[in-house]
Amino acid sequence: MIELQDVHKAFGEKKVLRGVTLTVPKGESMVIIGGSGTGKSVTIKCILGLVKPDAGRILIDGQPVDRGDRDAFLARFGMLFQGAALFDSLTVWQNVAFRLLRGEQKRPKAEAREIAIEKLRRVGLKAETADLYPAELSGGMQKRVGLARAIAAEPEIIFFDEPTTGLDPIMAGVINDLIREIVVEMGATAITITHDMSSVRAIADDVAMLHDGVIQWVGPVAEMDGCDDPYVQQFINGRAEGPIEAVR
């Protein structure tokens, strides 16, 4: 279970998070929605320790994230970055097997390659892509490789940062379905941040709306369309008029 309790974060004068409180139960898929620049990425970077919150507490299974063995903590996570963030200097399979080639989860090279190829197959890529470099792949293929890397070490918690940004609608649908299948099949706890409503409907068990640095609404995806929260209604219907200023 992931718990954020009154998390604050400012960059200089700009207060990005003003008291985020959110609970993601174990095995649930939570999707955080909100406009660009509302602090969605900062929220998950705070959970991962990539950004240090100014105030508040973040707990994973009741344990504060800033204490204990950092490597063991990070070994529980997988993350798909917005631009896939593949390492240009490594081949596709070396990217996927990155964690399996070094550190505590290190395995023999042949075994790591085999696992990488199996994970690539799981995301719909052929074994021939294993020896290509990321620059030789299309945007959709890079996202799939990023997804394969995120799940390679069978993490308990997976984060997806704007998984469909920059993809055509068909590829976005493929990625959404893959994420849903993988999260269900692994039983992982997932947090996805997106402003793509098709992703929300495909991936989410629960939805949280982040605006002005706080969670404005949280609830099951089935209740999202019928809820009376003006922020959620403006966002999911893409209206220019409403409590959220169109020009921020």
Binding site: K45, L48, G49, L50, R70, D71, L74, A75, F77, G78, M79, F81, Q82, G83, A85, L86, F87, D88, S89, F98, R99, R102, G103, E104, R149
Partner: protein, 263 residues
């Protein structure tokens, strides 16, 4: 009103001074972190080997050419100067001493700064803006250990070798010009070079090379990891890495020369 007017120029001076000092502090902390990780496992041998090739091996042509032309020009200059008081015989020894003590390490270091500090800063800066550094952290890999340590260690070990090779090529440049343009006897030129050159001259230049290599890679990594956003951020990081490493090479060269040869 007048106090506020007075404060404005003082603030304009104070702000960049404070920012500069903060930057020096961050640089020093970064250097200590790199040194700390240097002696603690895990060690990334593949990355170290790759850095040896890109920093050391591929810098050989540019360092060699720089040394060759510098050695030749030095011979011409010293011949012209020394002929004014009939001391042309000193050309081989002064070329050799000038190359191994000063020009070999300094020009070699500056060429490596231009070639290596820029490429390290651009590569790591691009990794930062494309979230590859964040990805490393989420994959339980310390970016300083994985990116900076192999590069800094490789540069510290290979730049002295580059300096030694550059010294030899520079002396050869002087010999080529001496024999072909200035009518020196080939054997006498070489004997004169060897007789006057001391081991301490060569060792001081090589020690300078190690310090310059450390500076170049450290600045490339530091500015790359602190790169701003977008293409402009990476461009600025690259420029600052080259400027900072060049200035630090020249400054530390003076200090090292004081340490090695004063008194």
């Amino acid at each position: 009103m007048s106090a506020a007017l007075l404060r404005r120029p003082l603030a304009a001076i104070g702000r960049p001074v404070l920012a500069g000092l903060a930057s020096v502090g961050r640089m020093a902390i970064f250097a200590l972190q790199v040194l700390g990780h240097l002696v603690r496992p895990p060690f990334y041998l593949r990355e170290f080997g790759h850095a040896i090739m890109t920093i050391g091996w591929y810098s050989l042509p540019v360092v060699g050419l720089t040394a060759l032309f510098t050695g030749g020009a030095l011979a011409l200059q010293i011949y012209d100067g020394s002929s004014r008081f009939s001391a042309e015989a000193a050309v081989p020894s002064i070329v050799a001493i000038g190359m191994v003590r000063e020009l070999g390490p300094v020009l070699g270091g500056l060429m490596v700064a231009a070639r290596v500090a820029s490429s390290i800063a651009a590569e790591i800066g691009t990794m930062k803006v494309t979230e590859q550094i964040d990805a490393l952290v989420t994959l339980s890999t310390n970016p300083i250990k994985y990116l900076a340590v192999p590069r800094v260690l490789a540069a510290t070990l290979t730049v002295p070798v580059l300096v030694a090779v550059g010294d030899s090529i520079g002396i050869m440049g002087g010999w080529l010009v001496g024999v072909n343009r200035l009518d020196f006897n080939s054997a006498a030129y070489l004997k004169n070079t060897i007789d006057f050159l001391e081991a301490a001259d060569v060792a001081s230049g090589i020690a300078k090379g190690a310090v310059f290599g450390f500076i170049v890679a450290l600045m490339g990594c530091f500015y790359g990891m602190n790169s701003g956003r977008g293409a402009q951020g990476v461009g600025k990081a690259t420029k600052l890495a080259v400027v900072a490493s060049s200035v630090l090479i020249l400054g530390s060269n003076y200090l090292l020369t004081e340490v090695f040869f004063s008194g």
